[in-house]
C-alpha cells in the first residue's frame, strides 16, 4: 500500500512538472509574452520596454525563466493581476467557493440520478427503459451545455418566471433559501451531461459485476434478490465509479465555466472569461494552472480512495 502511494505520488509530481511546462508555453504565446501589459500602454518607448524586460528578467534564457516561474508557483507566488494588482492566488480564492458550490451540488445530483438510471437499465437490459435512457444519454451528450442553459432560462425565467435567470443571490437578501433558488438551474444544467456519462458507466459496471461468479453464488445460496443487488452488485459496481469521478473532473470544471457564464455565476469560470476580456493574463494563467492542479489532486485522491476500498488494486 505504501509503495503504491509513493509511486502514485511520484507520478503526480511528474505530471505537475509537465503541466507547468505546457502552461509556460501558453504564457509565452501571449501577444508580446509577459510584457503585453506594457506594450499596450500608450506612449511606451522601446528603451522603457527594454528596461522593464530587464527588471522582469525576460532577457534571460527561457529555461531559466521557466525554472524561476515554476519556483515562484510552488511557493504560492502566482503573480499579480494587471487589473487591480492583487495577488492572483487571492483573487482565485475569492471565486473558489462559488465554483465548488456549483460543482458539488451538481455532482451530488448527477451521481444520484445517474446511479439510479444505470442500475435500472442494467438489471432490465434490453427493456424499453434501457433503450430510452441509452438514446437519451447520447442525445444529452450532444447538446451544448450553454444552449441547454439558454433554453432553461427561456422556459423557467422568461416564460414561467419561476426561477431567477442568473447570479448567486439577490442583493440585500442572501438567505440560504435565496442561494438555493439561484442554485437550482445552474446545477441542474451542469449535472445533465454528467448524468448521461455517469449512467452509461454505471450501467456497464453493473453488468460487469452481475456476470461474475460471486453474484451467482450469492443467488444460489438463496439470498434475497434485493440484497444481492444492493450489497453485492451495486457495492462493487460503485468502485470503478470513483475513478470515473476523478477522470470527469476536467469536463466538470470546463462545464462549470460555461454554465457560470450563462447564469452570471460569480465563480472561477466567470473570472476566467472576465480576465480574458481585460487581457489580464496573470489571472488567466493562474486559473489555467489552478484548474489543472485541481484535476491532478482530484485524480490522485480518487486513485488512493479506490486502493483503500479495493485491496486488489495496488499497482500493476
Amino acid at each position: 500500500m505504501l509503495r503504491y502511494l509513493l509511486v502514485r505520488l511520484w507520478q503526480s509530481v511528474i505530471l505537475l512538472f509537465l503541466v507547468s511546462l505546457i502552461g509556460f508555453m501558453v504564457l509565452n504565446l501571449a501577444p508580446g509574452g509577459p510584457l503585453s501589459q506594457y506594450t499596450l500602454t500608450p506612449g511606451m518607448t522601446k528603451e522603457a520596454l527594454d528596461r522593464i524586460s530587464e527588471q522582469m528578467g525576460l532577457n534571460r534564457p527561457l529555461p531559466i525563466q521557466y525554472l524561476d516561474w515554476f519556483w515562484n508557483l510552488l511557493q504560492g507566488d502566482w503573480g499579480k493581476s494587471y487589473r487591480d494588482g492583487r495577488p492572483v492566488l487571492e483573487i482565485i480564492r475569492g471565486h473558489l467557493f462559488a465554483t465548488l458550490l456549483l460543482m458539488g451540488s451538481s455532482t451530488v445530483l448527477a451521481v444520484m440520478i445517474g446511479t439510479w438510471i444505470g442500475i435500472h437499465s442494467a438489471i432490465r437490459q434490453g427493456s424499453l427503459f434501457d433503450y430510452i435512457t441509452t438514446i437519451g444519454a447520447m442525445v444529452t451528450l450532444s447538446i451544448p451545455t450553454f444552449w441547454f442553459g439558454l433554453i432553461a432560462i427561456f422556459v423557467f425565467s422568461v416564460g414561467l418566471g419561476w426561477l431567477p435567470a442568473g447570479n448567486m443571490y439577490t442583493v440585500g437578501d442572501g438567505s440560504v433559501g435565496d442561494y438555493a433558488i439561484h442554485l437550482i438551474m445552474p446545477s441542474v444544467v451542469l449535472a445533465l451531461v454528467n448524468v448521461a456519462v455517469w449512467s452509461r458507466y454505471m450501467r456497464s459496471a453493473t453488468l460487469d459485476v452481475m456476470s461474475q461468479d460471486f453474484v451467482r453464488t450469492a443467488k444460489a445460496k438463496g439470498l434475497a434478490p434485493r440484497r444481492v443487488l444492493m450489497k453485492h452488485i451495486v457495492g462493487n459496481a460503485l468502485v470503478p465509479m470513483i475513478t470515473l469521478a476523478g477522470l470527469q473532473l476536467p469536463t466538470l470544471l470546463g462545464g462549470a465555466l460555461v454554465t457560470e457564464t450563462v447564469f452570471t455565476w460569480p465563480g472561477m469560470g466567470r473570472l476566467f472569461l472576465d480576465s480574458l476580456g481585460y487581457n489580464d493574463y496573470p489571472v488567466v494563467m493562474g486559473l489555467l494552472m489552478f484548474s489543472a492542479v485541481l484535476v491532478l489532486i482530484g485524480n490522485l485522491a480518487a486513485d488512493i480512495l479506490v486502493a483503500l476500498v479495493d485491496p486488489r488494486i495496488r499497482l500493476d
Partner: protein, 295 residues
Amino acid sequence: MNATAVSDPSKSRARWWRSRSARRFVKNRLAMVGVFLIVGLMLACFVGPHLLPFDELFIDLRARFSPPGTGAHIFGTDPLGRDIAARLFHAGQISLLVGFFAMVMSTVVGTVVGIVAGYTGGWLGAALMRVVDAFLSFPSIFLLLALAAFVNPSPIMITIIIAVTSWMEVARIVEAEVRSLRDRDFVLAARMVGLPRSQIMFRELLPNVIGPIIVAATLTVARAILLEAYISFLGYGIQPPLPSWGNMLNGAQQYLDKAPWLAIVPGIAITMAVAGFNFIGDGLRDALDARSDQR
C-alpha cells in the same frame, strides 16, 4: 482483429461494403439516423444557400426580429434583419469544415503519437503518454480559450487549436491497441525480415488499428463541433461577420424574451450535427468490434 486485411489487403478492401461489419452498421437503426442527419445537414449547408432568396450578409433593418415563417424568412431574422436560414447554412459550412479538419489534424497527431509510444514502449513511450496525461489534466475549454485569446482567431487557427486540445483520446486508444499487438507473430516476422521500424509501425501495425481510429475520429468530429460552438459562443472563436453556429448564439441571450428563435434554431443545428456524428461513431464501434461477431 481483421486478419485478412494483412494477408491480402486488396481483396478485403475490394468488398468492404459486403463485409459483416458493413451489414451490421446498416442494420443499426441509430447509426442510420446519424447518417441521415449528417447527410441532410451537409446538403442543407452546402446546397441550401443557393436555393434561398437572401444573402447571409444582406441587412434589412425593416425586417428586424421577424419570427420564423415571416415571408420567405423560414427561420426568421436576427437583430439586424439578416436572414437566419442563410446565416445558419453558411455557419454550418464553417462549423462542419472546422470540425472535419480539426478531426483530421488531431487524428493524425494522435495516431502517430499512439503508434510510436505503443510500439517503442520503454522510456520514450512512457514519456509520450505522460505528455498525453498532462494535456488531459487541463479542462479543454480553459486551455482552448487561453489559446484562442492569444492567437489570431481565423478559422484556420481555431481549427488548429481545437486539434491541439483533442488529439489525446486518439493517442490513448491507439497506444493501447498497438501495445497489445506489439508481440504478435506478424510483427515479430516483420522484425525478423529486417523491416525498418517506421515500416513496421505504419505499414504493419497501422492497418490493424484502423478500426478503433475510425471510431475515435468520428467521435472527435462531434467533439470538435461542440468545442467550436463553445468558444465561438463565448466570443473567442470564429469572429463575425463570418457566421458559425456558436457565434450565432453569442448575442442570443439578451433577446431571449423578444426573439427566442435566435437561440433555438442554431442550438438545434449544433445538437443535430453532434448527435449525428455520435450516433455514427457508436454504430461504427459496434460494427467494427470483432467480439460482436457472434450475433
